[in-house]
């Protein structure tokens, strides 16, 4: 039995994936069910017990406004993760389209699109966020637009590389020879052959996007003061780092743990679809 479980879950290829799943389940629990259990209002101030160290009652202690840090971290979770998933979703959608069009069309279209992508990649994300948030005003929806506006170029570049490798394959001219229309080739030949890699790229980017969102808020460009956004909380706790370090440390740990589990998931999926890891017997 032990061998069964060990090989099924922790075999060489599946270990990262399994740990990733376990962490994600924990996060999902805290994010979805958490707010119902720790349902104190994350923004209500309670000056009576400011800066209490972590205790049985306040697991992560309280911040300078007396609010329970643990509750704020929980309610901040669905904010950060929600933003990140939205950004990855929108960014990936645009990126995949641009990547496939550039790879499939080639020639002038490819050159132009790739120059635009390079412009976006060499443009500091902070500035773009500033401009977008500056004109449209702060707030999570605008934060999503600000992040997605930069992230799509990252996906486009990687999807184009994958598409080109499919375009150079032997089965592509064959698909044209049998008479497939361009659309059918894209959806039946290119997409299925790159989707594996794309999922890995997308999952691996959720972590960094969470961190990018937090950095934006840290710099005061994303979510605004009362909201329990992790970046904001870390910035808020900066002044009290000497006497109440937990205000800064706690949301940081939450961000790290969330990013860590998504990265594990991404690497795990990568291992699963990686052809090299499948044992082969070259019998010739």
């Amino acid at each position: 039995m032990k061998k069964g479980i060990k090989s099924r879950f922790f075999s060489r290829r599946r270990s990262l994936f399994t740990i990733g799943i376990i962490c994600s389940v924990i996060i999902a629990f805290f994010t979805i069910i958490g707010p119902f259990i720790w349902n104190a209002d994350p923004t209500a101030t309670d000056y009576a017990n400011q800066c209490l160290p972590p205790s049985g009652e306040h697991w992560f202690g309280t911040d300078n406004n007396g609010r329970d840090v643990f509750t704020r971290v929980i309610s901040g979770a669905h904010l950060s993760i929600g933003v990140a998933l939205a950004v990855v979703g929108i960014g990936a959608a645009i990126g995949i389209t641009v990547g496939i069009v550039a790879g499939f069309a080639g020639g002038a279209v490819d050159t132009i699109l790739m120059r635009i992508v390079e412009i976006m990649l060499s443009f500091p994300g902070i500035i773009f966020a500033l401009a977008v948030l500056g004109t449209l005003g702060n707030g999570t929806e605008h934060q999503i637009i600000a992040l997605a506006a930069v992230r799509w170029a990252h996906y486009a570049r990687l999807v184009r590389i994958e598409t080109i490798s499919v375009m150079n394959s032997e089965y592509l001219p064959a698909s044209r020879a049998i008479g497939n229309s361009k659309l059918r080739i894209v959806f039946r030949y290119i997409l299925p052959n790159i989707i594996g890699r794309v999922i890995v790229i997308a999952t691996l980017s959720i972590g960094p996007v969470i961190l990018a969102g937090a950095s934006l808020s840290y710099l005061g460009l994303g979510a605004q003061i009362p909201s329990p956004e992790w970046g904001l909380m870390i910035n808020g706790g900066k002044e009290y780092i000497r006497q109440a370090p937990w205000i800064t440390v706690a949301p940081g740990i939450a961000a790290v743990f969330t990013a860590f589990s998504f990265n594990l998931l991404g690497e795990g999926i990568g291992d699963l679809i990686d052809p090299r890891l499948k044992e082969k017997a070259e019998v010739d």
Binding site: E170, P173, A177, I178, G179, N180, Y189
Partner: protein
């Protein structure tokens, strides 16, 4: 039916893109009904390029290719679809020619769907199973992926797929080079049988003289993108005029 008129295909390369290499240099020939034309030459002489030009997978740099008098370059979508249906190609590496993520169930039914040869799913199933028996392929292949079957079986499936379209012309681009001798014999036997039964025109590209001699009636010898000699099988093998052809034929007889 299919005619090449002074077709040239050249590539730019070298330091500043000045160096021109001519893969196909001013080739003209035509293929009539039920003909068996062999394109014979060493590897790298441009014979495969001619095959890809005919399939419109490559665009000619000069000259034109005409099918029933119509230049394939200016064909409308519907004309092009008809051209694709009538002119099909068998590739060299059978296992690499199929979509690795697509099971054979879908790969095999693809031609039927594209040209909607079957009015209803039952009819589609009938056509497919008919062809499967004719080619001696087991039903359990449906759930297999290209990497999971042998070269011989893959080539059989490729030929079967093409045959469903009942094409007028089949271009075979070195279909048996990558296969073992015994499997090669099976595929060539199968191809010959299919050709004769449906009187399909064949353009057979190869570097193997014996195979060409067995499959074709007329042969064109190609060297560095140019047709150096053209004639019936016997002329070429017994009375080669061009000295390159003589060298090629003698090197076989040694």
């Amino acid at each position: 039916m299919l005619e090449f008129k002074n077709v040239t295909k050249q590539y730019r390369s070298g330091m500043f893109g000045t160096h021109l290499t001519k893969a196909v240099d001013d080739v003209s020939f035509c293929v009539g009904e039920n003909e068996r034309l062999g394109l014979l030459g060493e590897s790298g002489c441009g014979k495969s390029t001619i095959a890809q030009l005919a399939m419109k997978l490559l665009k000619p740099s000069k000259g034109s290719i005409e099918y029933n008098g119509k230049n394939i370059k200016h064909m409308s979508r519907s004309e092009m679809k008809n051209y694709r249906k009538n002119v099909q190609i068998i590739f060299q590496n059978p296992q690499q020619v199929f979509n690795p993520r697509m099971k054979f169930r879908e790969t095999i039914s693809e031609p039927v769907r594209i040209y909607n040869l079957a009015s209803s799913p039952e009819e589609e199933k009938k056509i497919i199973s008919e062809h499967m028996e004719m080619f001696g392929l087991p039903e359990e292949l449906f759930d297999r992926y290209p990497q999971e079957i042998s070269g011989g079986q893959a080539q059989r499936i490729a030929i079967m797929r093409i045959l469903m379209l009942k094409p007028e012309i089949i271009i075979a681009d070195e279909p048996t080079t990558m296969l073992d001798v015994s499997v090669q014999a099976q595929i060539l036997e199968l191809l010959k049988e299919v050709m004769d039964k449906n009187n399909i025109t064949l353009i057979f590209v190869s570097h193997d003289l014996d195979v060409v001699r067995a499959m074709c009636k007329r042969i064109m010898v190609i060297k560095d993108g140019q047709v150096v000699e053209q004639g019936s099988v016997d002329d070429i093998f017994d009375r080669p005029e061009n000295e390159y052809t003589r060298m090629l034929v003698d090197s076989l007889k040694e």
